[in-house]
Subunit: 337 residues, 4 copies
């Protein structure tokens, strides 16, 4: 960490900061420039948020952190890319992965039909929500355990691994007994109790970026899971909140190459929740492949017009089949190396 | 809800939409303008998110919701302002309320010292975190139940009601056994499991607006608590995330008069977390009073430089005493009516 | 436009609104629902911002505009896509277009070297700034007319049409006498005096989206140019400002399919300014092709480390050659239809 | 400026960076920590954006600027606060200043009526737009020179200095011949040609912050004017763009104390444009006083319902009179020191 003193800071102020740095266990390294004195606090600054307190000391202009605050999630901590095996699907490896299915499990019939569409299209995993985080308490909240059972039956019949959201640490045990991947949703990216909960699970986790979560915060949330003992985390960009209202959220595709630089974890993109309108899903799905994502998560519904949740952004089967062909073609251009 | 058809939409498309509206239980009301046909879907649209699915039907340009989606939280549902009694403190009434204390309970000594400062300054309630939501898994996570016990002892000694954060539905019972007000933090504003949890508590709830939460979404989160049976909810503006980085977040003070128009619930402002630097806390605290808030939540620490959490934004006792005087003066101007 | 009355609005209030609508030249259309009365104001609402004033009348809850506010820029106003011919380059047609070159014209040698790289790579147009909009008054402000002359000579030697920014209406005449396409920069998207200026030019305009401009506002700015008589406008997405700081701005690629739906004008993407780091330019360039853009604008510099402007985001020649191959491959997948 | 090398950066990479720093005219200062080597580039970095190019050199993790990029606008450059005299009004001194009037000059009658209201209320200056920056080319664009003449006559009759917007450098001479203060609007905050234009004027400038302008960028824009020779600049916060749509923009009142710390220039707040609804103007105006602003700019219209521009946010005379009383009371509390 670097502490920049104000222009004209007095010697006493500089000494005070130096002493304070040493009193909290760091080594001070002074550097006097023409206009400013700069004091380095040498030592491991991660998790030591209190170092920011230097900012309130007289004569201090600002405090600049130098190290990135995550360890286990960083590229530095691990050679190569993490590949996560889910059944016979390898996420983060050379093969591009598509997870698809309806927003919510509504009925056995609806999910089975979706599952066959997903399988026929050549996708790798089935998604479907049993516990639904809904803005309104009056909206459909999901089928709960009954939904998990339907998902498990769909896996049996199709062989597709299933992904579903878990909303509370106290549900982790129940949910992991039925499904293959635990999803942490965008509204829970910084629900630290839940992060610790899935961190103690044996099942891989799909961690969604929140609408207002920075890339660094997303990696810190992954760090919670990794530090709790679960090293199988996939990250998922699903759109951030900006001033633009033409789309539901703003899909931040630059996050894909940024994450690939900073972390060894696989990166998935969910264009459906980001854009909120099915017409925009295919172009953004293709863009995600071209940007270097390891996989996609796409909402598909046999009858979107009567979906209980997120109908407007769900693709009909025929649109999805066609998109899968294009995804494959672009993946073959981008991932050939 | 209103469905705007595209220019030149065909009669068949209009008929289709009309039939669909009726098939999902609403009454259709047609209005043909010069350029556009507009179809109203008459009925209670709240919680009926699936109505948005009309957007994917051929010939439809857009779907415009008309009713606000919350009921119990709205001004329409209740005459007058809700006043919440916590011990002998009335939040939302004529008297301006100040909640103060350190970010985290660190030791008995630190909390007691803080509590006496808070009391001496004339504030109404004591705050202090026992369970701390921290971005980094390596940061101090709070004292847990031991912190709750310290808070309870501080209440005994000073008579001040205490407010503390609860981070998980499974902790509600524990936390409410020790404190007077349950706080839901900014990262949990849309943690629906937790909202239901505090909704079943008998203790009042201080619901913070998330960094990414719109005013409408905040009211929907309040609606979750109200709909679960707990009608004692105070809302708290604590800064939203914007592109500006000069302050930690952007304190959205306009939210105060907007909320006062839309809801009967009391509105508190937390300037400390919003700005992140103690120097900016007094002007923003005073501005919050002038904007019409019912109360403030301010971080005060006897030794901010050695605070384990949020030192840079904590006021020292002497600064806090002075601020309390100014708050009182402005409150007497603004709240005299 | 639709005026939604408050629940329980009085008949007198409804009558007042109705009379007011008629007094300002519109026809009122009443629709009484169970909870709300809704009044349509029938007529052309475009440019009639004053209609929003209804919002301040007693009993009115909100005013909802129905028509999109632009005409000439909208898909409704024109069949098919606009194709803009610049020399022998057709922007908006089947062939994908790449505009490349350095951020600023620095010297004749630097620009010529860049121009040959651009040509060798197979790009279609050369870019280079002679008038540079710089945040700091102490930064290099461009070579001015001398820069324009260098650009004109580069065109002569390579046959590549040239694009350059014009910063003030009073410079339009000078700039258009040297170059082929007038660029309006991101900080001038709503500089209405400049928009009218380029609207009176005979040269095509490349209109960049501002960091703070919504898609609708971008189309309104295009409308200014179209309404002034210049119907050759290309739109350019170059990143918007969000809370994320890992990239300079957030490239909003969803804007591409949204714009293709709403307007007949061609859409170009500038990934260089959006991301601000050369490593991220190739993945985002490829993503833009896959998202359906008509072209790209990319910064290339023979010696980025010594560039006077935007060095960190400029590609070296060898990186650019390789990227051009990948762009072509993806374009051949996406644009084959 | 500080260059942070990657963990494990090689000696050759460190040497390269050191040599490059010296080749561009700075002195390098090396500091080796346990995990990272940090290289300071000592010298005046302002305006030297090209220093950022170090970011692309092998082994470099990031480049951190240390000095603030503005000089003349900074507190360091000048003792005390700048007070700007406009007629007999002193902006930035002990007396709180209110500028009021209609959004646009519509007719002589409308402006005169407004001017008398403004004067009667005890405000210090009159505002009114003659050149109106409108999102739509079809909206009322202002009366132009005729509007300026009306403003000049209002000043003669009331003695109030007048403020009006100038939209283009080529209009500066015309506008300054009629009015007392030149306003640069929120869409032109980074219109550098215009900033230079008003920088050469003898009249004071009211510089509005753009909807997506950071505080640092606002100060850089002020720096353009100051560096061009005009040292009479007032800054104006008028709301920034955020994700919240309940208000037109988000009034960033924290910008007031932040600006007061960083610059000696006076700070005005315009709540009317920020919130967009007249009901919210009084609370936010009072909050601005309490936050420490030097003045307010408020829209007042004798007949808002028929205003040609911004009717919904304009106060009626009687509301304005009452607000002026409250402003005075709060100012007397806050500014007594």
């Amino acid at each position: 960490m670097i502490i920049v003193m104000k222009k004209g800071a007095e010697q006493k102020e500089i000494d005070d900061v130096t002493r304070w740095i040493e009193s909290v266990g760091y080594r001070a390294h002074l550097s006097k420039g023409v206009e400013r004195t700069i004091i380095g606090a040498v030592g491991d600054e991660r998790g030591k948020v209190f170092l920011k307190s230097a900012e309130m000391m007289p004569g201090v202009e600002k405090v600049v952190p130098i190290l990135q605050p995550y360890k286990l999630a960083s590229r530095e901590s691990r050679e190569g890319d993490t590949i996560i095996n889910v059944g016979n699907v390898a996420v983060g490896g050379p093969k591009f992965v598509v997870i698809a299915g309806p927003c919510a499990v509504e009925t056995e019939e609806q999910l089975m039909e979706s599952a066959y569409v997903v399988k026929k299209a050549g996708a790798s995993m089935l998604r479907g929500g049993a516990f639904k985080p809904r803005t309104s308490p009056y909206s459909f909240q999901g089928l709960g355990e009954e939904g998990l059972k339907i998902l498990a039956r769909a896996r049996e019949k199709t062989g597709l691994p299933v992904v579903t959201e878990v909303m509370s640490a106290s549900d982790v045990e129940l949910v992991e007994s039925y499904v293959d991947v635990l999803q942490v949703g965008a509204r829970n990216t910084q629900n630290f109790a839940l992060l610790k909960g899935v961190g103690h699970s044996k099942k891989p986790v799909l961690l969604k970026r929140g609408m207002m979560t920075t890339i660094e915060e997303l990696l810190m949330s992954a760090e919670y899971i990794l530090a709790s003992g679960n090293d199988r985390v996939m990250l998922c960009e699903r759109g951030i909140r900006s001033f633009e209202t033409a789309t539901r959220n703003t899909l931040d595709l630059s996050a894909v190459p940024v994450l690939k630089e900073k972390t060894h974890l696989p990166v998935i993109v969910d264009p459906s929740h980001a854009v909120g309108q099915w017409r925009l899903v295919p172009p953004m799905a293709k863009a995600a492949v071209a940007a270097g994502a390891d996989g996609l998560m796409i909402e598909v519904h046999p009858d979107p017009r009567h979906a209980l949740s997120d109908g407007p952004q769900s693709l009909k089967p025929e649109k999805f089949y066609r998109l899968m062909d294009e995804i494959e073609e672009i993946a073959s251009v981008v991932r050939k190396e």
